[in-house]
Each structure stands twice: as C-alpha cells, then as structure tokens.
C-alpha cells in the first residue's frame, strides 16, 4: 500500500517538473539567502576579531623608539627592572607570513593565540624548537615550522614566542614594540629617565573605529534577520503551493482507501527529503554568493586595519547546520500548517465549495486581526522601546504585521479601484486581480519584505555614512595633528608653528566624573574651526560664545542620555557649576565627553599640559611643514598626523559597506522576483478556465497576455507603495532604537528619495521579468485548450 501511494505521490512531480523545480528552488533560494548573509557576516566578524585581538590593537598604549628603529632587548629589561610593566613584541615577515613574537608570561590577557587548546604545550611553546599558532593556510606557507592550527587566527599571521620569532626572523636581541600594561605599580620613575629614546603611543584612535565597525556588523545582522523573514515566506509559499496543487490527488487517494495518517506521514517525509536536498543546494549556493561578496567585505576591513583579512571563505560546519536547519525548520513550520489543513479537509470538500469559501473568509478575518494586533504592538513599541530586545521585537512585529496585512490592504485597494472602473474590460481586470490575490499573496509578501528591507537598510547605511562624514569633518577639521612629549617640545612647536599656521588649537582633556558618569572634559580655544564645523543636536543661542567665555558647558549625546541631562541643566566640574548650553553628537565614543572654554579649563586643571594640537593651514603645505618641523624644531614626523589620511581611510570603509549592501539588495530583490515568477507560473495553468470566457467574449490572447503583465506590475507598484513607509519605519527602528540600545547614540535619519525611486524601479523590473514568461505563455495558449474549457464543462 505504501509503495503504491508513494508512487502516486511522487509521479505528480515527474509529470509536473516545473512545480518540483519551484518547490526545490524556493527552498534552496531561501536557504541560500540566509546562509549567504550569515556567511558574510560570520566571516567578516571572525576576520575582524582576529585582526583586532592579535595584538590587542587599540587596547593598550605602546612604547616605540622615536626614530622608528627596533630597540635593544636590554631596554626591555631596564624598563622592567625600573618597575615599568611592559611586554615585548617583535614582528616581521617570513615567506609572506607576518610573524608576531610575543612574551606570554608578561603579555596582557587576550593577546596572542586565542585560547589554550590541544597541542598547546607550555614547555614546547617557550623553549626548544617552539610552536607557531596560525590558520591552515598560514601553516602551509611555513611547512618546516611546528604549527598549532587555529582557524580563528588572523589570516596570514603566525603568533609565536618572542624567542622563536627572533630566531626565525634573525633578529636576536631586538624588540619592535613594548605593550604598556594596565595597572602599573606605584612610584614608577618617568619614562624619560630610564629610556629617553622611547616614545609612548596612546591607544586612543583604534577603539573609536572599532565601535563604528560594530555598527557595520549590526547592519549586516539586521539584514540577516530580514533575509530570514523573506526566506521563510518563500519556503512557506513553495510548500503551500505544493499542497494546493496536489489537493485533488490527495482527495482521490483517500476516497480510494488510503488512510489519512499514512498519507500525512508520507507527505511529511517526502517534504523533509526535499528540504534536505534543497537545503544542501541552498547552503552551497549561499557559499558561492558569500564568496562573491566577501572580497568586498575583506577589502572593507583591510581598508580599516591595513592588515591582512582573509578574502576567502572557510566552510564552517555551523553554516551547513544553520542553513539546513532553516530549510528543514522552515519546511516543517510551513508543512505542519499545510498538513494540518489536509487532515482537517473534509473528504468530500469538493461537494461543498461554499464551505471552503467560508473557511477562507474566516481565515482572512483571523489574519486581519493578527496583523492589526501586531501593528498595534509595533506602534506601542515605537513609543516605548528602549532596549536591544524590545528594538528587535519592534522590527519583528512591524515586519510580520505588515506582511500579513498586505493581502487585505491590496484587496481593499483593488475593490476601490474596481468601483472606479468605467469599461467592462477594466471591471473584469480588477475583479480578476482580486480573485488572483490569494494565490499571489505569499509572493507579494516576500516582495514587500525584500523591498522594505532594502529601503530600511539603504536608509540606515546612507544615513550612517552622511553622519559619519559630517562627524569626520567636525572632529578632524584641522589639517594637521601634532603630538608633543614634553614642555620643551611644546615650546618648540608653538615657536615654529605660530608664524606658519593659521591657528594652533590645543587638544587638552582631563577625566572627571560628571553626574556620576566618567567623562572626558576638553578645554577648547575660541576658534572658527569649532563654530563652523560642530553640529549640535540641540543648543541655546550663543552656545559657543558662552562656552568660550568660560561660563557654560557643552556635553555629548552619550552623557546626556546616560545622566538624563539636557539643555538648561547644570553640572559640576571641579566644584564649579556650568549650565549646559548644547548637546552634540559624538559617534563611536563609549564614554561621556564635555567641552568648556580653554581659560576655564586651565583654571580648573592647572596641572594638565596640552599634548596634542590641531594646526589649521593650507592642506598643500602640510607635507613640507611636517618635514621642516622635524628638521628645524626637532619634533619627529612620527608625531604628526595628516588628517587627510585618516579621513580617507575612514571614508573608504563606508564606500565598501555600500558595495556589500547594494549587492545584498539586488540579491533579495531577485529572490522575491523569483517567488513572483513561480507563483504566476503556477497560477497560469489554473487560469485557463478563468480566461477562456473572456477570450470567447472577444479579448484577443495577446490582449490577455498584456493584461497579465500589467497586472503583475500593478501589484508590484501597490506593494512598493506599502513597502516604502514600512522600510522607513524599519530604518527608524534601526537608527533610533536598536543603535541607541546597542551603542548609546542615536543616528540622525536622512531620506534618499532617489534611492527609493531606483529601488522601486528595480522592484518593478523584477516583477515585469517575473511576469513576462507566464504572460507570453498565456498569450500563446492554443485556442483548442481554451475551447476545451467549454467542451469539458459538466
């Protein structure tokens, strides 16, 4: 019995290969979209983490020789014996591999090979031939060395003991950098007394950028979430169609005596087999997609770190598993609903079409209530969401609510349009479109989500980029930044630069507690640089005047949010009260910050000597100035930073982010377009009986084909109209709720109408391409097939 039933069930697919293809392709695409985004995300994160942790870059101050040359190992011993807790690092290249030698007993935690593991042996690492930690690719480039393979290691980097590194690089007795550990002992002598040729480099710069890239990852994660939603809709649609198409067969089988339970089990098993096959194909496809996208991601991160980031993918088991889990889970969810319906379906349903229609009406009402409930919840969350969890809940309720509401909204709109219709053809067109809506609604939901995701993510990324560019202009307004080490250099700089630069702006700060928040207070010199470039989130009149006069204070957004302070509030700094006259955006900064006038700062913090200066000058004069500064004032070029460099690197990151986002946008739209194509193809075969009377009444087949195409595009346009506000709401949730919860600052939201128009055009194009083939097929339906509709009628 099982064999005969299985034969009957499977023979359906052989006779209808297109339907089988729809099902498998739908499943595979959904899986591919999901696993592709996950792969890009995971790989980018892994590379980024590895790069960041290899040397704890940005976390610790470092000591280097002023002249950039390596220092003698004795310098390390001298510093340690003087009570300076530093750890030596030597670096170099061997056979294309970056060798990093660390001293594990003194290095801060979290540096070097990620974790002790099998193969890690202290005695072997520290003495004898030594051990190198690196990924398999790195190990293959140094076949003669004893490697411990750590897949998460930074690409092209091998970490080993400093003694081993010195030997491999033939640099015995040399050290490049000393990492300055936190928690230095009391009574330490000044660096200048023990090692005058060393300079201390502060860790500041790196961590800000790291914070910003976290936002980039959040962006990708949000995209993964959305692609998941699109994927689930497609899976659901594919499964739903597979069941719908076989409903008559199922009924016949039951009438012929196949028990319901056996049928449900067989169909479930069949679907799970398909899910496994399609899921496997989908993961492989996702891998290809990710591999194509990854060079961009890798380039993005390489631009950021200037370090090697792997441009190739590692096939991580977790992708296979999560990809297959999505395929199987999505199929199971979709199939359980369909199977439940199948079990509930009366054996004689065909005899009671009215009952089915009533059930459909009931379902539409239920769907409407759920959609309304979800959208109401989203509305409440919009007003109240304040954490990461509620932020993501907001995203979910918005998305699902809107998707569920879409068919109902479209149905109402179409009903309204049909009332406006004048001609008979138009009336038939609207009525027929309404009738088709249920069959297309899942594909349209997928299109809605894809478009909304694109609008949302594009808005977020573009807003981010604009904000960041403005922020860079504001913060890196000076053409040159110079760091001095002592009062002698300070005097030399001022003497040398005063006649040559337009302005010398000291960057001096002190750490204090303001409203119980750790805060860095800056004392700024009155200059147009600040007045022209800084953008306030809110401010009172003459905010800069009052600040430079020393009577008022400006605070950053982080401090304002955490302390609940705003304009009109008063804070205490070193016992002096300052009214707040402005709040400014401070993207990427983890702690509070405040600005007071230079005079007030000097009065309150007399012990602070300015170490960094921003110099305003003609950008073209910068290189010459730096060279002269070294030659004539004795301030090494290593202490000067040309801001154009910093800015260029930072902006490059976001250009790359853009490339990746665009690629993903196109991909999601393509998948949604495919869903439309498949739905239309499926509907096409059922549509012959519906179209035959219209044809008989005088519309040509060509006209019918055109109308089919118009219908698909019109539905796409309507969906796009719904998608735009949804996408903007999504962007708002990402920028104003999720980002605040994750990073503590709110990103201003900008609108990009041209981008949206382009997206709308793409969506229309996708819908048109999807509808083209089915429309052509309809236009070429042989008249005999149309006639058969009448001859075959009961």
């Amino acid at each position: 019995m099982t064999k005969a039933t299985l034969q009957a069930l499977l023979s359906h697919w052989w006779r209808n290969p297109l339907q089988l293809f729809t099902l498998l392709a739908g499943l595979a695409l959904a899986t591919a979209l999901w696993s592709g985004v996950q792969a890009v995300n995971a790989e980018a994160r892994a590379s980024y983490d590895a790069a960041a942790t290899t040397l704890g870059e940005g976390q610790y101050d470092r000591l280097v020789r002023r002249d950039g040359q390596p220092m003698a190992q004795d310098t390390y011993i001298t510093l340690r014996r003087a009570g300076w807790l530093v750890s030596p690092v030597v670096q170099g290249r061997l056979n294309g591999v970056r060798i990093v030698g660390i001293e594990p007993l003194t290095a801060p935690g979290g540096i070097g090979p990620v974790a002790p593991q099998e193969g890690a042996d202290a005695a072997r690492f520290l003495s004898g031939e030594g051990q190198l930690f690196g990924n398999a690719d790195t190990a293959s480039r140094l076949p003669e060395q004893a490697f411990v393979i750590t897949p998460e290691a930074a690409p092209g980097t091998a970490v080993t003991d400093i003694g081993v590194a010195q030997r491999l690089l033939d640099r015995q007795g040399q050290i490049d950098t000393l990492i300055v550990l936190s928690g230095q002992p009391m009574g330490q002598p000044p660096l200048a007394d023990i090692a005058p040729d060393l300079a201390r480099q502060s860790a500041q710069g790196g961590s800000d950028i790291a914070r910003l890239t976290d936002s980039f990852h959040l962006n990708l994660t949000a995209f993964g979430l959305l692609s998941f939603a699109v994927g689930i809709f497609i899976v659901n649609g594919a499964i739903g169609l597979a069941f719908e198409q076989r409903r008559p067969v199922v009924r016949t089988l039951r009438a012929l005596g196949v028990p319901l339970r056996g049928l449900v089990v067989l169909m479930g098993a069949e679907l799970m087999l398909f899910a496994l096959i399609a899921g496997g194909a989908g993961v492989a496809l996702g891998y290809v997609v990710a591999a194509l996208l990854l060079p961009d991601v890798a380039a993005t991160l390489r631009g950021l770190y200037g370090a090697d980031v792997s441009g190739t993918l590692q096939l991580r088991p977790v992708w296979w598993l999560s990809g297959l889990a999505i395929a199987l889970g999505g199929t199971a969810v979709a199939a359980s609903g369909a199977l439940y319906q199948l079990a509930q379906m009366p054996l004689l349903a065909a005899a009671q079409p009215r009952a089915l229609a009533m059930a459909a009406g009931k379902r539409a009402r239920f769907q409407g209530i759920v959609a309304l409930g979800l959208l109401c919840a989203a509305g409440i969350l919009m007003a109240t969401a304040n954490g990461l969890l509620s932020g993501f809940a907001l995203l979910a309720t918005l998305l699902i609510g809107a998707a569920l509401a879409l068919p109902l909204v479209l149905d109402r709109v179409l009903a309204g349009l049909s009332r406006l219709a004048k001609s008979m053809t138009a009336q038939w067109f609207w009525a027929d479109t309404r009738q088709q809506l249920p069959g297309l609604s899942l594909a349209l939901m997928a299109l809605l989500l894809a478009m909304a995701a694109n609008v949302g993510v594009s808005t977020m990324v573009s807003s981010f980029r604009l904000t960041f560019t403005d922020f860079l202009d504001q913060r890196l307004a000076s053409e040159l930044y110079v760091e001095v080490e002592d009062t002698a250099q300070l005097a030399a700089l001022v003497d040398f630069a005063s006649p040559r630069a337009d302005a010398i702006l000291p960057i001096q700060s002190a750490e204090v507690m303001i409203a119980d928040q750790p805060t860095e207070v800056f004392g700024s010199r009155d200059h147009a640089t600040y007045r022209d470039n800084w953008v306030f989130l809110e401010n009172t009149a003459a905010a800069w005047d009052r600040t430079f006069d020393g009577e008022a204070i400006l605070i950053n957004e982080q401090l304002a949010r955490r302390s609940g302070l705003s304009i009109g509030g008063v804070v205490q700094v070193q016992g002096q009260a300052f009214p707040i006259v402005g709040v400014y955006g401070d993207y990427g900064n983890p702690i509070g910050q405040a600005v007071i006038g230079e005079d007030a700062f000097v009065r309150l913090f007399p012990q602070v000597i300015p170490r960094r200066f921003g110099l305003r000058m003609d950008p073209a004069a910068v290189p010459g100035f730096v060279q002269e500064l070294e030659e004539k004032a004795g301030i090494p070029a290593t202490q000067s930073v040309d801001q154009a460099q910093i800015k260029a690197i930072s902006l490059a990151i976001f250009e790359r982010t853009f490339t990746v986002t665009t690629a993903l946008n196109v991909l999601t739209l393509a998948v949604a377009g495919f869903a439309i194509l498949m739905s239309l193809l499926t509907l096409a075969t059922m549509r012959v009986p519906q179209l035959a009377p219209v044809w008989a009444m005088g519309l040509t087949r060509r006209q019918i084909g055109w109308l089919e195409l118009m219908r698909a595009m019109m539905l796409a346009v309507l969906t796009a109209i719904v998608a735009l506000p949804l996408g903007l709401a999504l962007a708002w949730a990402l920028l104003a709720v999720v980002n605040v919860a994750a990073f503590g600052w709110k990103l201003p939201m900008y609108l990009f109408p041209l981008d949206y128009a382009r997206l709308g055009f793409f969506a229309l194009l996708a819908a048109a391409l999807a509808a083209l083939w089915p429309a052509r097929r309809l236009a070429r339906t042989p008249p005999a097939d149309l006639l058969k509709v009448f001859s075959n009628e009961r």
Partner: protein
C-alpha cells in the same frame, strides 16, 4: 445479507441553519443484486451513497456491511473498507493524473494488496482499454476515462460497488456502452451494485429501485 441500512439520519450545517438531508432511511441489498437510487437534486441520494462508502459518517442509524457496523469504525478502518470491500465510481472519474492508465487501473488493487494480473487483463480487454495503457488520463476521452475508473474500482474484486451518476458526464451513446460493461462485469464478479442516477432508462435496468424524496424513501 450484504448490506443493511437502518434508520439513517444526517444533517448538514449550512449558512441558513441546519439542513436535514436524510431523515430515517432503511434499505437492504443482497450480493449479486443491483439497486437504483433515484430522486431529485438535494433528495439526499449522494449523501446516502457517501455514508455507505464510509466517506462520511451518519448522525444516527446503522450501516451494516458484511456483518460489520461501519458507523462504528475509525478513519483507518473505513479506509481499509474502501480499499478492499467497497468500490466507488465517481461522477468526475477521479483518476490520478500523474499515473499512466495501466497504473491507474491497477492502483486500487495494489492498495488493497489484492492485485490479480489476469483479472486486470480481463477488465482491460473487456473495457477496450488495451491500446491506452501507456497513456495519461488527460489524453483520453471522457468515456474512456470513466471506463478506466470502473476498471480500477472492479480490480480488487469488491463485494459492493457504489456508483454516483457514473455516466453523468458522458453523452448518451457512450453512457449506454459504459453502463452495459459495468453491469456485465459487476454481475460476473457477483458483487452488489448501488447506483445513484436520475436517468429513468438506467434505473429501469436495475433489479430494484428506491426513490428518495426530501431525505425519506418515497
């Protein structure tokens, strides 16, 4: 006694309130006997057929088939009944479109585990389907399709054949040929036949007839 139906009641819920389709039907059928069920549309004759076929369950009353009360059976047992003992010929043929004619004919016998190749060959030949075996249902005419459906129903050698307007979708000439074949084969198999029809001509060819009116035997 092959079949005994006692005081069957069935009510459907409709948008206009409950509607009593059957209000106390009694009938009996012996093996080899043929019975026509006639009546106007809505008189409940199709419903009665579905109940006897185990496709639906009565609200009250007894349907005893070969000494078994089928109203008391669960879904799996009723499915088993449909596979082997009762065969149903539908008005709309209900062939499996993805299977070839040969597989469609043998399908139910295989389901029931009562496949008899010689008997299937006899059926195929007598129905004049030998040339169509490797075709698909959509390639056959309506009359041919109904002959496939009848052959399929008779293949497992059921004790009781239920037919619901089996020739309703066919033209008169084709209907007459199909009907002749069905009556012949049912009688050869020694099965009982219960046929719903509103054709006087057909009804007159049966050994007995029962006329339903508003859910009661008239």
């Amino acid at each position: 006694m092959l079949l005994r139906v006692t005081d069957i009641h069935k009510t459907y819920q409709t948008a206009d309130g409950p509607f009593a389709v059957l209000r106390g039907i009694d009938l009996t059928l012996e093996a080899g006997e043929t019975l026509a069920l006639t009546g106007e549309s809505g008189s409940g004759k199709s419903t009665l057929l579905h109940l006897i076929g185990g496709l639906d369950t009565p609200d009250a009353g007894q349907i005893v088939l070969q000494d078994q009360d089928i109203a008391a059976l669960d879904d799996a047992a009723r499915a088993a009944l449909r596979r082997g003992i009762v065969g149903v010929v539908f008005q709309q043929f209900n062939l499996i479109p993805s299977l070839r004619i040969a597989d469609n004919i043998a399908f139910q016998a295989r389901l029931a585990g009562q496949h008899d190749a010689a008997w299937v060959k006899t059926l195929t030949d007598r129905m004049g389907l030998s040339a169509q075996l490797s075709k698909y249902p959509e390639q056959l005419s309506g009359g041919q399709q109904q002959r496939v459906a009848i052959a399929r129903t008779l293949a497992p050698k059921p004790r009781l054949v239920l037919a619901d307007e089996p020739t309703g979708n066919l033209d008169e000439a084709t209907a007459a040929i199909v009907m002749d074949l069905m009556l012949e084969l049912v009688s050869e198999a020694g099965a009982g036949l219960l046929m719903v029809t509103h054709s006087e001509a057909l009804a007159s060819r049966m050994s007995r007839r029962l006329h339903l009116k508003a859910g009661r035997v008239a």
